[in-house]
């Protein structure tokens, strides 16, 4: 699972990459949502409360979202994510029955340094 990108001197990118865990995204989203909705709830007018069956829903939901967001962040800190890596496909990734054709389909073997041609920017949204 090692990738060619994993070189010393790229630690700052690694740190940044580590922040890009789904838990940090979800946590941050709910912290922001929670703050906004709680503020709206604090300033809710009587007509807003009357609209929703006499409940101040925003003040109910805002803190719930804050707690959910905080939970994701705490989880992230307690159990830091493993860095996600892209990796080249190998024969091992194919079903046994397809490995004979797989070899031809996979001329570049991983682990042999220097066989990777420079990426071309031909495809939409590529590298």
């Amino acid at each position: 699972m090692t990738s060619p990108e994993e070189r010393p001197g790229e630690q700052s990118t690694e740190l940044l990459a580590k922040l890009f865990d789904i838990r940090s995204f979800t946590g941050a989203l709910f912290l922001i949502f929670g703050v906004i909705v709680t503020i709206v709830g604090l300033g809710a007018s009587d007509s807003d409360i009357q609209k929703s069956a006499g409940l101040n829903l925003a003040l109910l939901l805002g803190p719930i979202m804050l707690a959910l967001g905080a939970m994701f962040i705490v989880w992230l800190l307690i159990k830091p994510p493993e860095l996600l890596h892209g990796h080249e496909m190998t024969e091992e990734d194919l079903p046994e029955q397809l490995r004979h054709i797989g070899l031809e389909a996979l001329p570049e073997h991983p682990g042999e340094p220097g066989t990777e041609p420079p990426p071309r920017g031909r495809r939409p949204g590529g590298h």
């Binding site: 789904i22 995204f25 892209g86 570049e108 590529g126």
Partner: protein
């Protein structure tokens, strides 16, 4: 799929600036995920199967979230309003046992054999004929359903932003396209995880309102019983053979709905199974559908229950003069009851669900198109980076087709229903081919094709006879249940007959694909704590289901 916004404008959603701000924040997070994941896509396996690297809780939530699209949210609440509590069978008898079965029994064949798609299993277990039927129907079907989701998304966007429908469709399509192109399946799954929590938080207030405003659950059920009879609030009442429940009889529910329809959908639909194939090891793959089953058990509380409450809270819904259709139950309740801020979260959840539903179809479509059609039959033997590029172009092409489907759906609101019925004919025979292929080594290479063909023909025939009034059923739902039973039986018979005149495949050809020859990795063989054991968690969710049925009767 028809929200009332396109039929006279009875439904409108008035958003305050703070609601729009919440939407804007959410959608910038969605794109952010795409950009953050760009780095991770190096091979076609990364793009189509997340490099088989994700933890079970992520794939599990993705598994269930991919299913919560337009059809699920609006459709199930509409069915709740129309058929009542019996709709919970689709969850507690249908979906959840199927998901547990997929995790405990079928996943080792899918994950252990390292097939890269559901059709690829058919190719290895049977022959290219069975493979092609599945690959082609899946590719066409998922594009059509992507179009339905896109259309639903665009109608809401049109109503919210006041832009013409065509712009709304293109805006939504470009958005989904960009984040899938960037991050592939991982992008889709990560967004599904985020979407799941937003939908949950956004829908729960509706349930609270439904209970509070109707005076509590028992009050709500009493009122509905008075108006619609006992079987409307008690899921098993009237389900005896010859009974009156519109959903059907218990044989149809257990054999047709649970065993044929739900098992067929959940265990062979690649849009779902793909999430489990993206898991990092055998144990995580098996846990994927089972983890997804826990939240699925509670989805009726945020769909069917508000749908039923809508009958009381939105008087006249479903009748011509109210201007509201059953499909509008959830958006109309939102508009009537949710205050600013909360409405923003709920509408964002709705949009996110439609978007994720479309993304799930697109991200499974491109994998099947690339691996099962392009690589197998059109341009085999190219380097992996070639197929990665094909996958990206297939994504563009798939979204373009979805845009066209959405435009067609906007002109003929019923066409999508008919098309979905058409593709549902294939589901049950497919399940028949899988289950017999997995558990009966003697099934030969052509058995898969004949099973699928015979089952589909019978399924279509029963449907046609019902439509021509030769056969009578209590409702369309009742017809699908018995049609599925007939299709499964016909498929099984055809498979046995086909297998009798042919040599079986060798053990070497079948390695990893059939019962008794599963390939299990270390994580799957190891002993696990209860919270990582597929069997313990699977039984747990089934017990939970029984508890939920009892809870419905308690009110």
């Amino acid at each position: 799929m028809s929200l009332a916004v396109d039929s006279g404008g009875a439904l409108s959603l008035d958003l305050s600036p703070v609601d729009l701000l919440l939407m804007l924040i959410y959608f910038s997070f969605v794109l952010g995920i795409g950009f953050a994941l760009k780095r991770v896509v190096k091979s076609s396996l990364d793009f189509f199967l997340s490099g088989r690297s994700l933890p079970a809780w992520v794939t599990g939530i993705g598994f269930i979230s991919a299913n919560i699209g337009a059809v699920e949210l609006l459709g199930q609440s509409a069915s709740g309003a129309q058929y009542g509590a019996a709709m919970v069978h689709y969850f507690w008898v249908g979906a959840i046992p199927a998901m547990v079965f997929l995790g405990i029994v079928m996943m080792p064949f899918y994950y252990g054999s390292k097939v890269r798609s559901v059709p690829e299993y058919l190719r290895l277990r049977f022959d290219p004929k069975a493979h092609l039927i599945n690959a082609i129907t899946f590719v066409v079907g998922s594009m059509l359903i992507a179009g339905v989701n896109l259309y639903a998304l665009s109608i809401v966007l049109e109503a919210l932003l006041g832009i013409p429908l065509i712009f709304a469709i293109i805006l939504a399509a470009v958005f989904v396209l960009s984040y899938i192109l960037l991050g592939g399946l991982t992008s889709a799954i990560y967004n599904e995880v985020m979407q799941f929590f937003v939908v949950l938080i956004g829908m729960v207030p509706l349930t609270i309102i439904a209970i509070k405003e109707t005076g509590g659950l028992s009050q709500l059920f009493d009122k509905l019983t008075a108006e619609h009879g006992q079987s409307f609030v008690e899921p098993w009442t009237g389900t005896s053979v010859g009974g009156s429940s519109p959903v059907g009889d218990w044989i149809g529910i257990i054999l047709g709905l649970a065993f044929c329809l739900s098992f067929g959908y959940w265990t062979t639909n690649f849009a779902e199974v793909q999430r489990a194939m993206a898991a990092k090891d055998g144990n995580s793959a098996r846990l994927t559908p089972i983890i997804g089953a826990y939240p699925k058990a509670f989805v009726p509380l945020i769909t069917i229950l508000p749908g039923m409450a809508a009958l009381i809270l939105l008087p006249g819904i479903g009748s011509a003069d109210s201007g509201l259709e059953y499909n509008d139950a959830i958006p109309a309740l939102m508009d009537k009851y949710l205050p600013p801020g909360v409405l923003g979260v709920a509408v964002t959840g709705l949009l996110a669900a439609f978007m994720a539903g479309m993304a799930a179809n697109v991200s499974s479509f491109n994998a099947v198109f690339t691996y099962d059609l392009w690589q197998d039959y059109i341009r085999p033997g190219r380097p992996d980076r070639y197929y990665l590029a094909v996958g990206r172009w297939a994504t563009v092409g798939g979204v373009a087709v979805a845009v066209m489907t959405a435009l067609i759906a906007s002109g003929f609101s019923n066409i999508s229903n008919y098309l979905q019925t058409l593709f549902s004919f294939f589901n049950v025979p497919l399940f028949c081919a899988f289950i017999i292929g997995m558990f009966w080594k003697r099934a030969t290479r052509s058995a898969g094709f004949w099973g699928i063909l015979a089952g589909t023909v019978v399924s279509v025939t029963v449907y046609a006879l019902y439509k021509l009034d030769v056969l009578t059923f209590r409702s369309d739902l009742h017809e699908t249940m018995w049609g599925s039973i007939a299709a499964f039986a016909a498929g099984a018979v055809a498979m046995v007959l086909a297998s009798m005149r042919e040599q079986r495949k060798t053990d070497e050809e079948l390695h990893g694909l059939v019962y008794g020859m599963e390939i299990r990795d270390a994580s799957d063989i190891a002993r696990h704590a209860w919270y990582r054991s597929p069997v313990v968690l699977g039984i747990g969710v089934l017990v939970l289901n029984v508890g939920l049925y009892i809870a419905v009767y308690a009110f």
